[in-house]
Subunit: 362 residues, 2 copies
Amino acid sequence: MRTLNVDLGSRSYPIHIGPKLIDREELITPHLPTRKAAIVTNEVVAPLYLQRLCATLARAGVQTIPIILPDGEIHKNWQTLNTIFDALLREHCDRATTLIALGGGVTGDMTGFAAASYQRGVPFIQIPTTLLAQVDSSVGGKTAINHPLGKNMIGAFYQPRLVLADTETLQTLPAREFSAGLAETIKYGLIRDAAFFDWLEQNIDALLALDPQALGHAIEHSCRIKAEIVAADETDQAERIQLNLGHTFGHAIETGTGYGQWLHGEAVAVGTLMAAELSRHTGWLNNEDIIRIKRIFHRAKLPMQGPALKVPVYMELMAHDKKTEAGKLRFVLLKSIGKATVKNNISIDKISSSIKTYSTNS
Amino acid sequence: MRTLNVDLGSRSYPIHIGPKLIDREELITPHLPTRKAAIVTNEVVAPLYLQRLCATLARAGVQTIPIILPDGEIHKNWQTLNTIFDALLREHCDRATTLIALGGGVTGDMTGFAAASYQRGVPFIQIPTTLLAQVDSSVGGKTAINHPLGKNMIGAFYQPRLVLADTETLQTLPAREFSAGLAETIKYGLIRDAAFFDWLEQNIDALLALDPQALGHAIEHSCRIKAEIVAADETDQAERIQLNLGHTFGHAIETGTGYGQWLHGEAVAVGTLMAAELSRHTGWLNNEDIIRIKRIFHRAKLPMQGPALKVPVYMELMAHDKKTEAGKLRFVLLKSIGKATVKNNISIDKISSSIKTYSTNS
């Protein structure tokens, strides 16, 4: 087992990474203020891991309340969130009841926002079962639900007390979702760590084969990069923006196609290609950099082409993005592979051209 | 104008108290990061003060977006909250847009939770126009909406950047709501300040006559007591519980009769009588104390008798209360006038008897 600590003062917490962690009650119980926990999961993950987690907690004398949500980003909304609140109230859960998210990013985001808001805040634990959640969404305390006019528009910064990344759960993850998780892993190399990007180029096949050593390294290294950035900027005022490489375009793809058509990581992959193209237009990346980025996404089995969305649709959706301030579009771009930066005042022509390079029929 | 500071480290903020503060742009603008603000108010307050506040902000070059909610506790729910989010997104409000609550406690609670959750947190200013909001709900950072199974169940701790208590707005407040606000004012004397309780006994008629000096003193002193308690316990882990004198019974009255039938302060008044009776049963208050408490509520024109709710209904509703931990009911009681304490493990008989003393036909 590998352990790293997210350093946020009184809100610091450990991330444990390794196989079969779901069975380790001694890792979980120190973080529970009382012997009562609600496990929020979805209809896909529940048959796979819910009983095992309940049994683990039962061994420690913890009463568990399972809450099973429908699966998918399309359900990341107020109605689904409310089913969590309904269950917590029906079961008389109090302010010391811990909420445990067992599942992917959608489950983690909704459970985290439920934990932040239920009775103004209850303890929260993340047990991510997708690669995306293990390397990204379970680290950093961003929780949210979607609004018809924008992704993650309603939420809170709310830190878990513990993250347990059981790498064996990735064996049941569909290949498409595994690839979507790789998109965020690759992003960490691109924004901050050229050596990690090199390592990923050399180990992408081992990762796709679920090699335990490679997985452990990639997840730990990704979490470490994210944890460093989050520790420097918990509430997303400055440094943290670099984590959004590819996300401004990516969120437009997710929203514009209707939540759930594109996986988040897939949209980020195409968004990152657009951001790389914009970086090339700005004179930073060269053609060889673009080829390396395209090649690793291709080898990771990620989409290389966006949906049939017109440029004006992108522009309208991006104007709603949370990263937009005072009406100005800001983009995270790459100075080089391993070095991200933020740029305002990019001409519409360049943005439009970058979108078109990776769009279907637009 | 009187000013006091709520001392919460980096989240500290000033409370200004006095007449005609709504017209003072120089008090507001230092707290706005950009020249864009959404003013959330309701259909009763809007015709009275919205234009004046918009004009004040326009003089400082601030663009304002009015959001007018339906009036009443019955609308303090997700559906109404969503109308705030809809408007903010429609108007492309970003993370630097300030939300200003103009109205009573319901408006403040909902606007505060909207500010806490919109894009994971935007700046927030309170301009309370009821006595209850000026002495209680606008101080301390508790924000929430109701759930059909319990009051204030979904919310956040989120501090405003400024509270402007314009005492002239109380001239348009219905007498019944003014009295409801007095209930919380009286509570501060009961829990922590016997001298203030004495002062209230001597000045209750001046307050009911809206004497400006008496109002200024009562509001400032109430805010000061609440600010001290909040500063010691921002997230309601310990000391802050004493603010809930009368609220366990009171919330049961509000929920049991359907939100909006009883004003919050009215329910707290009857709840405080029940808690005082329970304090007498516990051997702390004497008959003379009970008479003084009943007399001041009577002079403040507050209800002296609860609704026709049966004891088992109270017990069920109180079991859902946020102050309930690990299934045990805890009550804030009075050791004496001016000194509150918390007690667990009170016999059902004593609770039941205290409820019946102030219930209609139960």
